[in-house]
Symmetry: C2
């Protein structure tokens, strides 16, 4: 899968595998949002002991994909509009800062690599045809690279390690294919330019606007539906 998380270490233990499977299942909605998680049932389903399952559940909790109450159990998080907007607020702050840091800390090679990636996106059939590819994988790839470029392990952990699974979940469940594809591409280009110029202040501002625009796009859609 194209946007495999560079921060996720190699999957070795069975708890890792089950975590991976459940991650996909939750993100894609196979395990429904808001549903209660039955440990005995899932343990039987994955053919593992409850201890191992609970280990996997702990990692899902780290990604904020499930919530646990003592002596009661776990539930998959709900996907609400309010929750989505909350995430966008966090992303605006963190990715904005990541972008500023990337402008300071990215190596020249990393910048070259990023430009190459964007050029590839520009040529990609999917972008010309429609919105699908770029919106999904390409967009996430771009944001990933910027975050990694910050060279700030805390930022990387929070954004790539936990928040992005939630972002993907929302994208899957709400089926986001907004008409911002080409516009977003242009914004990405300008962001890279700012990073290449080592202009952290501008880079942060552009990234924040970029994310805020997506958020407002959603807010508009919602208000229209009412």
């Amino acid at each position: 899968m194209a946007l495999d998380n560079p921060t996720t270490q190699a999957v070795v233990t069975t708890a890792d595998k089950v975590f991976d499977q459940m991650l996909h299942a939750i993100v894609e909605g196979t395990i429904k949002a808001g549903s209660k998680i039955s440990e005995p049932e899932l343990a039987k389903h994955y053919q593992i002991s409850r201890s191992t399952l609970r280990e996997a559940l702990n990692r899902l909790e780290k990604c904020h994909l499930i919530e646990r109450k003592a002596n009661v159990g776990s539930r998959v998080v709900e996907c609400s509009i309010a929750g989505l907007l909350e995430i966008y607020i966090v992303r605006e702050a963190l990715e904005g800062m990541a972008c500023r840091q990337a402008a300071h800390n990215m190596t020249d090679d990393e910048i070259i690599e990023m430009k190459a990636m964007l050029a590839q996106h520009a040529n990609s059939k999917a972008l010309r045809d429609g919105v699908s590819y770029y919106q999904e994988e390409g967009d996430l790839d771009f944001h990933y690279k910027v975050i990694l470029g910050s060279h700030n392990q805390q930022l990387i952990n929070i954004l790539c390690g936990q928040l992005y699974h939630l972002v993907r979940m929302y994208r899957c469940q709400f089926g986001m294919n907004s008409p911002r594809a080409t516009k977003a591409f242009d914004e990405h280009s300008r962001i890279i330019d700012a990073i290449a110029d080592r202009d952290g202040e501008l880079a942060e501002m552009l990234m924040r606007r970029h994310i805020a625009a997506s958020r407002k796009n959603i807010e508009n859609k919602i208000s229209q539906q009412l």
Copy 2:
């Protein structure tokens, strides 16, 4: 304890208690930073089974206080200057945004309560005498209130749930009592004013400067020591 985390739910299970004890031990350095964690040894020390201990370890990992490698074990995180600066970068971004949100979302009552808290800090003996109290608990209390005032659950979780334990750990281990006490107090006052004026943009800017000033203060200290 004055700055008990409002997001931490009631401690009911034994794993919770052990988590709490280990949390304090790590923050205060009783369990040394960078040290390896022996599951059999600690399980014996706390008189619990390894399963329960591992449950506690999982929560510590969620706070980024320990790091685990598959089939190898857990280590307490190291406290490096670089790591501290990374955290300040994240705080600047997230608390800045939290402050902006607080300006939008805090209730009038919450703002009144905050002003009262600050007035109390101004009168507090500790502030007049020295730097100790305000730097430690008062400062954290202030930041907590702002974060909670954002009414953004994601922000609250990340900042209060995980990042602040690390911040406290650094404060304990590096023994931070900078000469910024009265200056910081003034900055807090202006931030609250901005929130009361519902000026989110200014509130964010002031909070970011406030945190950036702390970071630069540390950077200066370090460069002097070299």
